[in-house]
C-alpha cells in the first residue's frame, strides 16, 4: 500500500507532504475559499440592507441572502478548511500517509454535492429559513438533504483523520506522544463526530417531515438537538483555530508550549465540557428547568471557559518565552514590540487571539449567563458575539495559516506581499469595530435577522432610539471595510495560486522519513524552574480579567433595574 504514494519534503519548511494528502488538502482548502468568496459576496447584501440609510434589498431577498450567508460561512467555508487542517495535522505533522485516500475523495465529493445542493435550494427561494431552520417553518427537502450529505461527507473525513493517526502509530513515524497541535486536532475531530451526529439526528427527521413521511418534529426538541449541532460546530472551530495558534507560535517564533500538561489538559476540558455550552441557546426557552439551565451553562460551561482562558495565556506566554530567549528581555513588553508584525502569519494570529478573547470570549460568557441572557437573546448582540469568535477567531486564523501554506503547500510565491501584510490589520480591526457596534446596537435591543428597524407597514411600530440607528449605520461602514479586507485575502490567495511563481517542490521519496526524536535538553526541561517566565503576558491577562469583571457586573447592574420577573 505505502508503495503507491510519494513523500515530498518541503525545502522551505522541512514539512513532509504525502502525495494523496497534499492533493486532498489543496482540494478541501480551495473549496473552502470558494465558499468564503460566495459568503463574502452575500455579506455585501446583508450589511447594505441593515445599514438603515441604504436599506438595499427587498425583504424576501434579504432573508434568502442571510440564510445562504450563514450556512456558506459557518458550515461550508469553515468545515472544508477544517478537513484540510485535520489532514495536515495527521498526515503532514506525523509524516505518514493518509488513510484510505479513496474514502477521503468520496467524503470530499459528498461534501461538495451537499453544499451545492443546499445553496441551490436556498437560491430557488423556498428555503429562506435561516441557518437554524427551526421547525415548524419548513424548507425544501433538498435544503435538508444537502446538509445531511455534507455532514456525512465531513464525518467520513473525520474517520479518515482518525485512521491516519492509527497508520502513524503502526508505522512508527514518531516516538512518544503526538504533537500538541495534532492533539488539538484530535479534540476538534472528537467534537466534530459528536456535532455531526447531532445534526444527523435532527435533520434526518426534519427532512422526512419535509417530504411528508414524518408528521411532526417537536419544536422544542428540535431546538435542543439542533443546537447540539449548531453550537458544537463552532466548538470544532475553537479547537481547530487554537491548534493553529499553537502551530503559528511554533512556526513564527520556534516557541514551545509553556507546559504540555496544561495545554493538553485544557483541550481535554473542551472535549468533556464544551458541547454542554450549547445549552445557553435555550436559556430564554420555556419548558426547561432552572437546574438544567444552570448546570449546563455555568457549572459545565465554565470548565470550557477556564480552558479558553488557559489557552489565552499559554499561547502568548509561549511566544513571550521564546522571544525572551532570543534576547528581547527589556521590560514587560519588548518581546511583543519586537514581534514580526509585518508577517501576516503572525499578525493575523495575534489579532485573532486578542479579538477572540476580549470581544468574543467576554460577550459569550454574558450570553451564557442564565439571567443576563434575557437582555441579549436574539438581539443583534448575538451576531456581534459570534462574528468575534468565528470571524475574528476562526476565519482570521485560517487566513493567517493560508499565508504560511501558499509557499509550503501550494508551492507558489505569494503575489503582492505588501497587500498581504496589511490584510490582517484591515480585516481584523474592521471586524473588531463591526462586532463592537453590533453589540452596542444589541444592548439597545435591536433585533437580529430583521429586515427593517423602521417597522414599515406595522400597525404598532416601535421607534428605536437615535443611537441604535447610528450603531447600525456604523455596522454598515465597518462591514464594508471588513468585506474589502476579506476580498484582499481572496485576491492574494487565489491570485498566488493562479499567477504566483512556481516554487521548487523539494525532494521526493517513496518512503516516509520518521520524525527524529527530540533530545531532551536542559532548556527543554523547563520553564517550570525559571519561575515567572512570561510576566508581560500575565499583565495582559490581568487587563483582560479586569475588563471581564467590570463588564460582567455592569450587565448585572442593568438587569437589576428591569421589570421583576419570576
Amino acid at each position: 500500500m505505502s508503495g503507491t504514494t510519494t513523500y515530498r519534503t518541503c525545502p522551505r519548511s522541512g514539512l513532509q507532504f504525502e502525495a494523496h494528502a497534499e492533493k486532498l488538502m489543496i482540494a478541501n482548502a480551495v473549496a473552502g475559499v470558494v465558499f468564503l468568496l460566495l459568503g463574502g459576496i452575500l455579506a455585501v447584501g446583508i450589511v447594505l440592507t441593515r445599514w438603515p440609510a441604504i436599506h438595499w434589498l427587498e425583504a424576501d431577498t434579504f432573508y434568502q441572502v442571510l440564510t445562504a450567508h450563514g450556512i456558506d460561512m459557518l458550515i461550508f467555508w469553515i468545515i472544508f478548511f477544517e478537513i484540510a487542517v485535520l489532514y495536515f495535522c495527521a498526515s503532514t505533522l506525523l509524516r505518514c500517509r493518509l488513510a484510505t485516500p479513496r474514502w477521503a475523495w468520496a467524503a470530499f465529493a459528498l461534501m461538495l454535492i451537499g453544499a451545492i445542493m443546499n445553496n441551490v435550494a436556498v437560491y430557488q427561494g423556498s428555503s429562506s429559513v435561516m441557518m437554524t431552520s427551526y421547525v415548524p417553518m419548513m424548507a425544501a427537502p433538498s435544503f435538508y438533504l444537502g446538509l445531511i450529505l455534507f455532514a456525512v461527507g465531513a464525518l467520513i473525513g473525520c474517520f479518515v483523520f482518525l485512521g491516519t493517526l492509527v497508520i502513524a502509530k503502526r508505522d512508527k513515524t514518531y516516538t512518544g506522544s503526538v504533537p500538541l497541535v495534532t492533539f488539538g486536532a484530535i479534540t476538534a475531530c472528537i467534537i466534530a463526530v459528536f456535532t455531526i451526529t447531532s445534526g444527523a439526528i435532527i435533520l434526518i427527521p426534519t427532512f422526512l417531515m419535509s417530504v411528508g413521511l414524518v408528521k411532526e418534529v417537536d419544536p422544542l426538541v428540535y431546538r435542543m438537538i439542533w443546537w447540539a449541532f449548531g453550537h458544537s460546530s463552532q466548538q470544532i472551530n475553537v479547537a481547530a483555530h487554537i491548534s493553529i495558534w499553537y502551530a503559528v507560535a511554533a512556526i513564527a517564533f520556534g516557541a514551545k508550549p509553556m507546559s504540555e500538561r496544561v495545554s493538553r489538559g485544557a483541550f481535554l476540558l473542551y472535549i468533556l465540557f464544551l458541547q454542554l455550552a450549547s445549552a445557553h441557546h435555550l436559556l430564554a426557552d420555556p419548558g426547561l428547568s432552572t437546574n438544567w439551565k444552570v448546570i449546563n451553562t455555568s457549572y459545565f460551561m465554565y470548565f470550557a471557559v477556564l480552558a479558553s482562558m488557559i489557552h489565552g495565556l499559554t499561547i502568548p506566554g509561549a511566544m513571550e518565552v521564546a522571544q525572551r530567549q532570543k534576547g528581547f528581555n527589556k521590560g514587560l513588553f519588548e518581546w511583543l514590540r519586537k514581534a514580526p508584525w509585518g508577517n501576516p502569519v503572525f499578525s493575523g494570529v495575534f489579532i485573532s487571539i486578542i479579538g477572540f478573547g476580549f470581544l468574543g470570549g467576554i460577550s459569550g460568557v454574558m450570553m451564557g449567563t442564565e439571567q443576563l441572557n434575557m437582555i441579549i437573546h436574539n438581539t443583534i448582540y448575538v451576531p456581534g458575539h459570534f462574528h468575534a469568535t468565528v470571524v475574528v477567531g476562526t476565519t482570521l486564523s485560517f487566513m493567517a495559516l493560508t499565508y504560511f501554506l501558499i509557499p509550503v503547500l501550494f508551492r507558489r510565491e505569494m503575489i503582492n506581499p505588501g497587500l498581504a501584510r496589511w490584510q490582517p490589520y484591515l480585516f481584523g480591526f474592521s471586524m473588531y469595530f463591526f462586532c463592537l457596534v453590533m453589540m452596542g446596537a444589541g444592548t439597545l435591543g435591536v433585533s437580529r435577522r430583521h429586515w427593517d428597524m423602521a417597522f414599515s407597514g406595522a400597525a404598532l411600530a416601535y421607534e428605536w432610539p437615535g443611537a441604535a440607528y447610528l450603531m447600525m449605520g456604523l455596522v454598515g461602514v465597518a462591514g464594508i471595510a471588513a468585506i474589502v479586507g476579506g476580498g484582499i485575502y481572496i485576491y492574494v490567495t487565489v491570485g498566488s495560486l493562479l499567477w504566483g511563481k512556481r516554487l521548487d517542490t523539494g525532494v521526493k521519496s517513496n518512503t516516509f522519513t520518521p520524525i527524529p526524536p527530540t533530545a531532551p535538553s536542559a532548556a527543554v526541561q523547563g520553564y517550570g524552574s525559571i519561575g515567572f517566565a512570561a510576566p508581560g503576558t500575565f499583565v495582559l491577562a490581568m487587563v483582560f480579567l479586569t475588563a471581564f469583571v467590570l463588564y460582567y457586573f455592569i450587565n448585572w447592574k442593568y438587569l437589576s433595574t428591569l421589570w421583576g420577573l419570576s
Binding site: A59, S259, P286, E370, T379, W563
Partner: protein
C-alpha cells in the same frame, strides 16, 4: 518547535508548571466559581429570573382562554385592526398570543403590580422582545410559558418579534401600556 513536534520528554505530564500558568489557572478558576455563584445567588436574592412554568398547549385551547380573557377585560380598541386593549386586575392571569404577524391583544398593566403572563405561538417560533426595557423571551409553538411579570416603570412598551418568522416579520410588533 515542539507544538508541531512530539514532546521532547516522554513523561511530559510530569513537567512542572510555571508560576505564571499556575497563578493564572487559580485566578481563572476562582472567577469561574464567582460567576457560578452569581447565577445561583440571583435566584435567591435577585428579582429578574425567568420562570420555567410551562404547559403543553394547542392553538385551539390557548385561543379559547385568551378570548375569554379579552371578552372579560377589554376597555377599548386601537388601530385600524380594532385590536382590543385589555386591562386585567392586578394578580390575574393575562394572555398574549404570538402569530403571523402580530401580538394579540394589547395589554394595559399597573405599575408595581404582578401578573401571570401566558405566552404561546399559534404557528412558528416567535420572539418576545420588550422594548425599550430589552427583555427577551423565546416563544415556542405548542408550549404555554407562564412568566410572572412586575412592571416597575410607567410608559408605553413595544413587543418586537425578534425570532425570524417569515416575510412580514418586521411588521410583527405588539404593545403593553403600564400606568
Amino acid at each position: 518547535m515542539s507544538a508541531i513536534l512530539p514532546p521532547a520528554e516522554r513523561l511530559w505530564w510530569k513537567h512542572p508548571l510555571d508560576r505564571v500558568e499556575g497563578t493564572w489557572i487559580v485566578i481563572a478558576l476562582i472567577w469561574c466559581l464567582i460567576m457560578f455563584a452569581m447565577m445561583v445567588g440571583w435566584h435567591i436574592y435577585g428579582k429578574q429570573n425567568l420562570s420555567t412554568e410551562t404547559y403543553r398547549t394547542t392553538p385551539e385551547k390557548f385561543t379559547a382562554k385568551a378570548q375569554a380573557f379579552v371578552d372579560k377585560y377589554t376597555v377599548r380598541t386601537e388601530t385600524d385592526l380594532k385590536t382590543p386593549v385589555v386591562a386585567p386586575p392586578p394578580g390575574s392571569d393575562i394572555y398574549m398570543i404570538a402569530r403571523l404577524w402580530s401580538f394579540w391583544p394589547i395589554l394595559e398593566l399597573e405599575k408595581d403590580k404582578t401578573y401571570r403572563l401566558h405566552l404561546t405561538s399559534m404557528d412558528y417560533n416567535h420572539g418576545f422582545s420588550l422594548q425599550p426595557a430589552n427583555i427577551n423571551i423565546q416563544i415556542v409553538p405548542g408550549y404555554e410559558h407562564v412568566v410572572t411579570v412586575t412592571p416597575n416603570r410607567a410608559g408605553t412598551y413595544s413587543v418586537v418579534c425578534n425570532e425570524f418568522c417569515g416575510i412580514n416579520h418586521h411588521t410583527m410588533v405588539g404593545r403593553i401600556y403600564v400606568k
